[in-house]
Symmetry: C2
Subunit: 792 residues, 2 copies
C-alpha cells in the first residue's frame, strides 16, 4: 500500500490501512460468529459442534461490504470530526451494524450485559437471530439504526429526510443493488433536486454493486460500466467507482475516494455558504465488491463468494456435515481473531483507537434516536383560526382551506427552528392548503422560470409527484427528531400502504425499547377524498387506507374524520402536538356546511364522539332512532335526512351521533381511545335502530362494533365501490348514502310510522328520480341539493 495524501494535507499511511484491514477482519469475524456460534466466541478452544447454533439465520452476503464501508467511514469521521450517520439499505445485513456498534462500544453502552469481553461476545453471538434475542436486520434494537431495511426501497428517501434542515450532518447511505431495482429507490436518486446545499445536510450514497439478490444477479451489476456512469450522471450525481476484490488494493482505493468525495462535499458546502445557490452535483460512490467477500469460495462444489449462493448462510450444515464443519472452522480462523482481540476478549486498543468516540460514533449519533433531539413545536392558538358561525349549516370556504391558515402559522412560528415541513405529491394547492404559500415556498433546486409560482431554493414545503418520496422523506425527517405533515389525495395514499406498515412496526417496537425516545407522530392529511372525486372519477375513489391502518397496533394508530373546519382545526392541533402515533385525518377541501362553533368543536373533538343535541329531538328521553355519521359528506347527508324525518315525522325521537375519532367505536379493551360498553350504549342505545353514514367502506364500522350490544341494529352506509365522473351528490346516490336513501333506511326500521312511512318512502323515491333527471339534463346538482341549509 502507498501513502495517500489527504485533502487536508495529512497522510494515510500503509500502517493505518493495515490497521483498518484488521478492524474490518474483526467485524467480518463477528458477523460469522453471530450467524454460527453460541459459544467459544473467540475460538480459544478448538471449535466443537456444541459451539454451533442449532438453527443458523442471517444474511452474510451484504455484510463484509458494509463492514468495509463502515471502517472507512469511521476513519473520515475521526479525521475530520464529521457528524455522520449510517443508513443500511440492505438492512438484512444486521451482523454488520450489530458488529460494528459493538466494536466501537455503543452496543455495550446500550445493552450493558453485552460486555466488551469474551463473555459479552458470547452473549451477543447467541442472541443474534435467536428467539428472545435480536432480529437479524438493522432493526430498532440496533443502536445507530433509524432505518431497518427489512422492506427494501426506502433508504435513500429516509436519508434525504434525515438531511433536511441538518446542515452539518452527512448521511452515508448504503444502497443495495437489489434495493436499487425497486421503484421507490429508482426515483429517490432525484431527491438531489430538493436538497438545499446551504441549509440542509449532505447525503452520500454508496451504491453497493454486490452483484446478486436472493437467487438472481442484479440489473445494475449486469449493465456496462458506461451505462452505470451515465445513469448516475443523468440522475445528477458525480459517481466515483471503487471496484475490485483484493482487500489491500480496495482499502487504498476506498480511502483515496473518500478523500476526494469529502473534499468535494466540503467545496460544495463552502460555495453554498458563500451564496452560490446553483444546484450542486453531489458526489457518490459506487462500490463494486464480491457478494460474501472473504467468505468461503466453494461449498459442495458450488461457488459461494461472488455469487448469489452467498446471500444468507453459506455453509449449511456444519453440525451434521464434517466437511462443512471444517469449512466453517477454517473460515472463522481466516480472520485470525487471536490477533484482533486481547486476552480478555476485548478488541485490541490500537484497533479501538480507529473508531470515533462519544456521539461521533455512528451507533451513538443522536440523530439516529431522533426523540433525543425532538423539540415541541411552537403552536399558535388554533382557536383563533376558527369560523364564527351565524347559523348551523353555513357554508364554509373549505375545511382544509381554513386549516391551511393555521398550518401557515405553524410554519411561520417554527421557521427559525427549522423543524417542521410539509410534504405532498404536487397536491398542496389542490388540497387547498394555499395559505402556507403566504409564508413559505416549495423547496426546489431544479431550474426555475419567472412564470413559476411558490418555488424557491428553500421552503418548508417539498413536493414531488411520488407518494413514496413524500412519505419516505417525512419518515426520515421524523425519525431524526423533527415534525411534519403529509398531504395526499385519499385514493393514492394506498401507494404507501407498505411504507406505513414498516413505519408503524418501527413505532411499535421502539415503543417497547426504553432507550429509544418518542418521535413526533406521522401526520397524514387526506383531502380530495372519495366523495369529492366526482370530477376525476372511479380511479380516484378509494377510502380504504383507514381499513389498512386499523390493522396495526392500537397503541400506534389514530384515525380522525372531522365533520367541519373547526373540528379539523382542533384535530390538526392535537395531531401536531402528539407523539409516536400515525395520525390519519380525512377532510374535505370544498366549500361545505359548517356545524360547530369553535368551543363546541373543541368539546366534540376532545370527546371524539358525541350526541349533537341541536340536531336531535330526543332530549331527556330515549330515541326511536339513532342517526350516526362520520366524515364531512356523511354528516351533511345525515343531517339532511334528519331534517326530512323531523319535518315529516315530528313525533319521532331522533338522536344524532357524530364520530370524529374513529377509534372511539372500538371496545376500550382493544384500543386506548375505545369507549366502554356503558358509554357506547349510552350513545347508541342497546336496542334502537342505528343508521350510520360512514365516510369509507361500511364494513369497517361493523368490524369495530361487532362486540357491542346493539350491533345487530346497526345499518351502515358508505362507499361501496360505485363511482364515475358525476356530481358530488350523485356520488352519494350511487352508493346509497344520500339523504333520501338514509331516510328510506330509517323508515324500513320504524314500523310504528305506518302510513306516514309509506307516503314518505314514495316521496324519497320521487326525489331520487327528480334528482337523477336533473343531473342527466344539466350535469350539475339541483339547487335545493347543492344549497341545502339546515333549518330545523
Amino acid at each position: 500500500m502507498d501513502t495517500i495524501k489527504t485533502w487536508d494535507g495529512s497522510d494515510i499511511t500503509p500502517e493505518l490501512l493495515q490497521k483498518m484491514d484488521a478492524y474490518w477482519r474483526a467485524a467480518n469475524y463477528m458477523a460469522v460468529g453471530q450467524i454460527y456460534l453460541k459459544d467459544n466466541p473467540l475460538l480459544r478452544k478448538p471449535l466443537s459442534k456444541d459451539d454451533i447454533k442449532s438453527l443458523r439465520l442471517g444474511h452474510w452476503g451484504t455484510t463484509p461490504g458494509q463492514n468495509f464501508i463502515y471502517v472507512h467511514l469511521n476513519r473520515v469521521i475521526k479525521k475530520y470530526d464529521l457528524d455522520m450517520v449510517y443508513v443500511s439499505g440492505p438492512g438484512h445485513g444486521g451482523p454488520a451494524l450489530v458488529g460494528n456498534t459493538y466494536l466501537e462500544g455503543t452496543y455495550s453502552e446500550t445493552y450493558p450485559e453485552i460486555t466488551q469481553d469474551e463473555s459479552g461476545l458470547k452473549k451477543l453471538f447467541k442472541r443474534f437471530s435467536f428467539p428472545g434475542g435480536i432480529p437479524s436486520h438493522v432493526s430498532p434494537e440496533c443502536p445507530g439504526s433509524f432505518h431497518e431495511g427489512g422492506e427494501l426501497g426506502y433508504s435513500l428517501s429516509h436519508s434525504f429526510g434525515a438531511a433536511f434542515d441538518n446542515p452539518d450532518l452527512i448521511v452515508a447511505c448504503v444502497v443495495g443493488d437489489g434495493e436499487a431495482e425497486t421503484g421507490p429507490l429508482a426515483t429517490a436518486w432525484h431527491s438531489n433536486k430538493f436538497l438545499n446545499p446551504k441549509n440542509d445536510g449532505v447525503v452520500l450514497p454508496i451504491l453497493h454493486l454486490n452483484g446478486y439478490k436472493i437467487a438472481n444477479p442484479t440489473v445494475l451489476a449486469r449493465i456496462s460500466h458506461e451505462e452505470v456512469e451515465n445513469l448516475f450522471l443523468g440522475y445528477g450525481w458525480k459517481p466515483y467507482f471503487v471496484e475490485g476484490n483484493e482487500p489491500t488494493i480496495m482499502h487504498q482505493k476506498m480511502a483515496e475516494t473518500m478523500e476526494i468525495v469529502l473534499a468535494e462535499i466540503k467545496a460544495i458546502k463552502q460555495k453554498a455558504a458563500d451564496g452560490d445557490t446553483t444546484r450542486p452535483i453531489w458526489p457518490m460512490i459506487v462500490l463494486r465488491s464480491p457478494k460474501g467477500w472473504t467468505g468461503p469460495k466453494f461449498v459442495d462444489g458450488l461457488p459461494i463468494e461472488n455469487s448469489f449462493h452467498a446471500h444468507q448462510v453459506p455453509i449449511a450444515d456444519p453440525i451434521g456435515n464434517p466437511e462443512h464443519f471444517v469449512l466453517l472452522e477454517n473460515w472463522l480462523k481466516s480472520y485470525h481473531p487471536e490477533e484482533l482481540f486481547d486476552e480478555k476478549g476485548t478488541l485490541n486498543q490500537d484497533l479501538q483507537d480507529l473508531a470515533p468516540t462519544g456521539t461521533r460514533r455512528m451507533g451513538s449519533n443522536p440523530h439516529t434516536n431522533g426523540g433525543l433531539l425532538l423539540k415541541d413545536l411552537f403552536m399558535p392558538d388554533f382557536k383563533e383560526y376558527g369560523l364564527q358561525l351565524s347559523h348551523r349549516g353555513q357554508t364554509g370556504p373549505g375545511d382544509t382551506l381554513v386549516t391551511g391558515t393555521f398550518v401557515r402559522d405553524v410554519v411561520k412560528e417554527n421557521m427559525e427552528k427549522r423543524n417542521f415541513r410539509i410534504f405532498g405529491p404536487d397536491e398542496t394547492l389542490s388540497n387547498k392548503l394555499n395559505a402556507v404559500f403566504e409564508v413559505t415556498n416549495r423547496q426546489w433546486e431544479g431550474d426555475t422560470l419567472n412564470t413559476d409560482e411558490f418555488l424557491a431554493k428553500e421552503g418548508r414545503v417539498i413536493e414531488m409527484l411520488s407518494e413514496h418520496q413524500c412519505e419516505g422523506w417525512l419518515e426520515g425527517y421524523l425519525l431524526t427528531g423533527r415534525h411534519g405533515l403529509f398531504n395526499c389525495y385519499e385514493a393514492f395514499i394506498h401507494i404507501i400502504d407498505s411504507m406505513f406498515n414498516q413505519h408503524a412496526k418501527w413505532l411499535k417496537v421502539t415503543n417497547e425499547l426504553p432507550w429509544r425516545r418518542k418521535l413526533a407522530s406521522l401526520n397524514i392529511l387526506l383531502a380530495s377524498h372519495v366523495w369529492r372525486q366526482d370530477h376525476n372519477g372511479f380511479t380516484h375513489q378509494d377510502p380504504g387506507f383507514i381499513d389498512h391502518v386499523v390493522n396495526k397496533k392500537a397503541s400506534i394508530v389514530r384515525v380522525y374524520l372531522p365533520p367541519d373546519a373547526n373540528c379539523l382545526l382542533s384535530v390538526m392541533d392535537h395531531c401536531l402536538r402528539s407523539k409516536h402515533y400515525v395520525n390519519v385525518m380525512v377532510a374535505g377541501k370544498h366549500p361545505s356546511p359548517q356545524w360547530l362553533n369553535m368551543d363546541e368543536a373543541i368539546l366534540h373533538c376532545t370527546k371524539g364522539i358525541g350526541i349533537w343535541d341541536w340536531a336531535s329531538n330526543d332530549q331527556g328521553g330515549t330515541p326511536d332512532l339513532v342517526m350516526a355519521c362520520a366524515g364531512d359528506v356523511p354528516t351533511l347527508e345525515t343531517l339532511a335526512a334528519v331534517s326530512i324525518l323531523r319535518k315529516n315525522c315530528p313525533d319521532l325521537k331522533i338522536r344524532v351521533v357524530n364520530v370524529v375519532d374513529l377509534m372511539k367505536l372500538q371496545p376500550h379493551t382493544e384500543h386506548p381511545h375505545g369507549l366502554t360498553d356503558a358509554d357506547f350504549d349510552a350513545l347508541f342505545t342497546k336496542d334502537k335502530p342505528v343508521i350510520f353514514a360512514f365516510h369509507a367502506y361500511p364494513w369497517l364500522i361493523h368490524r369495530m362494533t361487532y362486540k357491542r350490544a346493539n350491533h345487530n341494529n346497526f345499518h351502515v352506509r358508505g362507499y361501496k365501490e360505485e363511482g364515475t365522473i358525476t356530481t358530488a351528490f350523485d356520488m352519494t346516490v350511487l352508493n346509497e348514502m344520500d339523504r333520501f336513501h338514509l331516510v328510506l333506511d330509517a323508515l324500513d326500521r320504524l314500523p310504528m310510522l305506518e302510513q306516514t312511512a309509506d307516503y314518505l318512502k314514495q316521496e324519497m323515491k320521487d326525489q331520487l328520480i327528480l334528482h337523477k333527471n336533473y343531473i342527466d339534463e344539466n350535469g350539475i346538482d339541483m339547487p335545493d341539493i347543492k344549497d341545502w341549509k339546515w333549518d330545523v
Copy 2:
C-alpha cells in the same frame, strides 16, 4: 416544410405534413369541444352561452401533445402497416384518445349512436365528463385503451407486459413527465433488460416533457438536456429529442425522428431474427412541447400555454365572464373547424385518409381488448401431481413445491403458444416453485456469467426486485389477452395495493361494457406468508392484503387459503382457468402436514368450505363446539388443539370446519360465493361456540360473518401484529393462535366440562411455559411440537 426521405426511400411531402397538421387541429378542436361544448359543436352558429356546459371538466394540458403524437403514429402505421397500440401514461388526457378514436372511426363503431356528423359530435362533446356519460380519462369506455392512467406510474410496465410474446407488436407508450417522477415509472425504464428482441415485441417510449404537473414544474423538464440524455443512456435507451413549439417545424422534426426510430427498430428486429441476441439499445423519443400547446396564451393576465395553469380547464368562466367567453370563442375558431369538417360535420375525406384502417387503427387494435385474443390454456390434469397420503398429517415436502410441478407442466404445455408467464420479485425459488426451472429459465437480457443459474435470453419466468414491475408487467400481459401468475412474499404484496385497486376497478368497469371481452384472471400466489417469516422477523409479517382485496367488488375478487398441497393444486387449477377475477392464493412453502387425499381435496375445494368428518366426532348429532380454521398453519394448530380436546374430553362433540374459499363466509347476497344463512348455520350452528383460527387479522372474519345468526359465539384468533425472529411455533404463541391457546379458548366456552377444564387449562399453561423455556434455551421448537402427528 421540406420533403423528408423515409427509410424505405419514399417521401414525406410538405403537403402530407400540412394535412397532418390539419388532422392535429381537428383533434385539438375536438378536445376543446369535449371540455366546453354541449351544443353547436362545429360553430355553425355564433357561439352562445347556451352552447357551453354548466360544469366544465377535463385535462387540456397534456392533450395537444398527445394528439400530436397520435397523428404521427397514424402516419407510420399506415405507411409501414404496423401493428401498433397506444398507451397514454398521462391518461387524464382523455380528450385526446376519445377525439382521435372518433376521428379514425372506431368510436362510432363501438358506440353507433355517436355518428360521424354534427349530431354525433354534439352527443360526444356533451357526454364527455358528464354524469351518465364518459369519464375524462382514457378509461375502459374508450376504445383502444387498455391502460386508464388515472393513477400515474404504470404505463411503461403495462406496455412491456403487452409487448412480451407479441413479436410483431409495437407499443407506443407516452410517458408523462409528471408520471416519470413516480417510483414505479422510474424503475420501469429498466424493463429493456427483460425484453427479448426476437420473441417479444417493441416498446417505443415517448417521454412527453410537457413541463408541468398540477401546480409545479416537473423534475425532468428542469434539469439540463445533458442530464436527460445521460439518464436515458444510462437506462439503456437511445433517446431522440424532438423539441420546440412551432408546429410546422415540430411536424417536420417528429416525422423525421419517427423514420429514424422505426428504421432502428427494424434493424434491431432483423439482427435478432438473424440470431444476434445481444441486448439491443432500443430507441426512444423525448418530445419537449408546451403544456397546453395551441391553447390560450394568457387568461386574466396569467400565462396559460406552457405553464401549469394549462393543466385542466384554462378558461374558467366563459358563461359568466364576457372576456372569457370571447377567449373561448377565439380559441375554438383558431382551429378553423370549417376547414376540417364537411357540411354534414364529418371529417374531410382527405384527412380521414391519413388514418389507418380496420384493426390497424389504434382504437381498434384487438390487443387493446385482450379478451378478443384470449385462448384458454392447455391444462395438464392437476390430480396427477397430488400427494398420496398414507395417513392424515403426513409431512409433505412443501405445498408450493408440489404445486410447482403442476405449474411447471402448465408452462411446458403452453410453451409453444407463448401465452403464460410467471412473474416474481426474485422469489420464485424462495417461494419453492423450483420445478418450473426444469423446463424454462428466467428471461434476462443483461450480461450473464457462467456461474448464473436459470438465466437465459428467453424464458417463461421474469424476475426483478420490484413488485411494481412484476404486477405491472403481468397486468399488461393479461390486458392484452394472455395468462399469468405473480408469486410474492405475503407482506410485500402491499407494495402493489394501489395497482391492485386500479386493476380491480378496470375489471369491474369492463365487466359492465358488453363490447369488452373477458380477460384471464390476475392470479397472485402469496407464499412465504406471515406465519413462516419467523426467520426474517417482524418487517416481513403482514397478512393484510386480503383485507384490502375484499373491499373491492364482489364480482371481481376471490381469496383462497388452501390448507395443504392437494388443495392448493385444486385451487391453482381453478384460478388458472378462471376469467376476469383477481384470485389471491395464500399457501405455505415449508414441509408441513397434509390432510386430504386428492379426491377429498377436490371435493373440499369445490365446496370451498366444509366439515372435516374424520377430524370431528359429532357425527349424526349436534356438536358442543365448532373448531374452524382457514390457512395451513391455523389448520395445523386447530387439529392439534382438537386432538388434545378429544383425548382429554372424549365425550365432547367437536366439529371441525375448514375454509378454503374465504368468500363462502359472506352472505350470499353480498358475494356470489357466499353461503346462504341456512347453509352457514348448518356448518357453524346457531348457538354453539366457534373457535376460529384464521390465517390473517382476526377482525376480517368478524367483518364477513357479523350478519350470521351465531356470530356472537365466534371467537377468532389470528395474527395480531406480534412477531420477531423466533421459531415457527412461537409465532403462533405470540399471537395466541397456537394449539394450547385454542384449547384454552375452547375450555373458556365450555362450562359443562367443570373440573376436566380446570385440569386441562393448567396443563395447557404448563405446556406454554415448557415450550417457551425450550425455545429460549435451544432456539428451535421442541420435537413434539415440530414433529406432531395427527393420531386421533
